[in-house]
């Protein structure tokens, strides 16, 4: 059979499969965390060493979070892109379901020097979608966060290697620590399994290659005392099934980038990648 014939059969099969199916995009409701003035170019409005804390607030408005010593302010923009309604009939059965809302979460953190001038602007959008339930987890994070501790990024679908197993959970990167919440079989659903203060972190980088299969795809956090913690991530930010380790380079790289903004005292920050 010719290639054209095969492609026709595939197209026909595709059409037959879709017969009776309907997919409708449902726009998302405006999120209470929506900030239209927080976008990917917001950092261009400020000049390091020149713009002041006043300039930032007078341009962007009240921040979502402020450091206790006002050494940084953080803005977030949560956009709900909506979801899909999918329905279909086949044989004698009709069914329909809705996908979860697609949420985009942008975080802009502006760091200031002691004189109150802009030192640098960290601006990134979470690379993967996450579902609104993450906010429940966010509440759990707030319950254990120290006063004034600022959240830089959260990684759902993370895994932390402990005692020869990969514990599934969610990893939070704050300006003071790495926090890992493990998913448990019984309540509470998420348990704080690790709080690693930035003062205890010596470096965050790719795991050395060649030591174990897949080692080049997870990150290694070396502690100042010589111990280390490994973190891996699923391709999407869904929860991991227990004992399942799925490694994704892109999200691991994102974690290493974000961890590079941690500021161990007396050490230079890891430069951001271009």
């Amino acid at each position: 059979m010719s290639a054209r014939g095969v492609s026709r059969i595939i197209a026909l099969a595709f059409v037959v499969t879709l017969c009776g199916c309907i997919a409708i995009p449902i726009p998302g409701k405006p999120d209470p965390g929506r900030r239209d003035n927080i976008d990917e170019r917001v950092g261009e409005r400020f000049q390091p060493g020149i713009s002041t804390r006043e300039d930032v607030l007078l341009t962007l408005g009240e921040p979502a979070d402020v450091a206790e010593d006002a050494s940084w302010v953080r803005y977030t923009n949560v956009r709900n892109l909506g979801h899909w309604f999918i329905g279909g009939c086949g044989g004698y059965v009709c069914n329909a379901f809705e996908t979860g809302d697609t949420i985009r979460y942008r975080t802009v953190t502006v760091f200031f020097d002691p004189a109150g001038r802009v030192r640098e602007v960290l601006n990134f959008e979470s690379p993967a979608d996450f579902v609104p339930e993450i906010r429940l987890l966010d509440e759990r994070y707030k319950a254990v966060a120290e006063p004034g501790e600022g959240l830089i990024e959260m990684f759902r679908g993370a895994a932390w290697r402990t005692a020869d197993r990969w514990a599934p959970g969610t990893l939070f990167v704050t300006d003071r620590a790495l926090l890992f919440f493990e998913i448990t079989d019984s309540g509470p659903l998420y348990r704080l399994a690790l709080r690693l203060p930035v003062t205890a972190i010596a470096s965050v980088d790719w795991a050395p290659e060649g030591k174990a299969e897949g080692s080049e795809r997870f990150a290694l956090v070396r502690r100042a005392d010589g111990a280390s913690d490994a973190f891996a991530f699923t391709p999407l930010s869904g929860d991991l099934a227990p004992q399942v380790a799925v490694f994704d380079r892109a999200r691991t790289e994102h974690f290493i980038d974000v961890a590079g903004w941690l500021r161990p005292p007396g050490r230079s920050p890891v430069p951001s990648r271009p």
Binding site: R35, D36, N37, E54, L58, G61, E62, A70
Partner: protein, 127 residues
Amino acid sequence: MRLRALPASRSLLAGAALLWALLLVGCVTPATATATAPSLGPVVALDFIQDGVTTIEECEPRLGPPSKKIPGAAGGQMLTFWLEQEAGEMHVFVDPRSLERARYSLVLSFDARGVLTRHALVKVWGS
């Protein structure tokens, strides 16, 4: 009691109706959350705000407690308030539940003496 036989067409119709009803079993109308919309805060006039004139002591009686107090330059202080515009009037929010409706962030920057040096009304969302 004697049952009367239905004509074939009516039987077919009744059967179709029954089938339709069966198909609808399991369909539900999703309940929509009917949360009470947060009420607007009191109307505020912003014309008293003038750089170099307005003092920090004047603000709280007119605008209520600020949403945030942030250290400013050279011992100064910045106050922020959330506002919403409706029917041409500005309302200030004091109830945190109302924040999701606030589209404007008012930022007031005072010097160390408590005199307003700069201010801005920033629209944070909405066309």
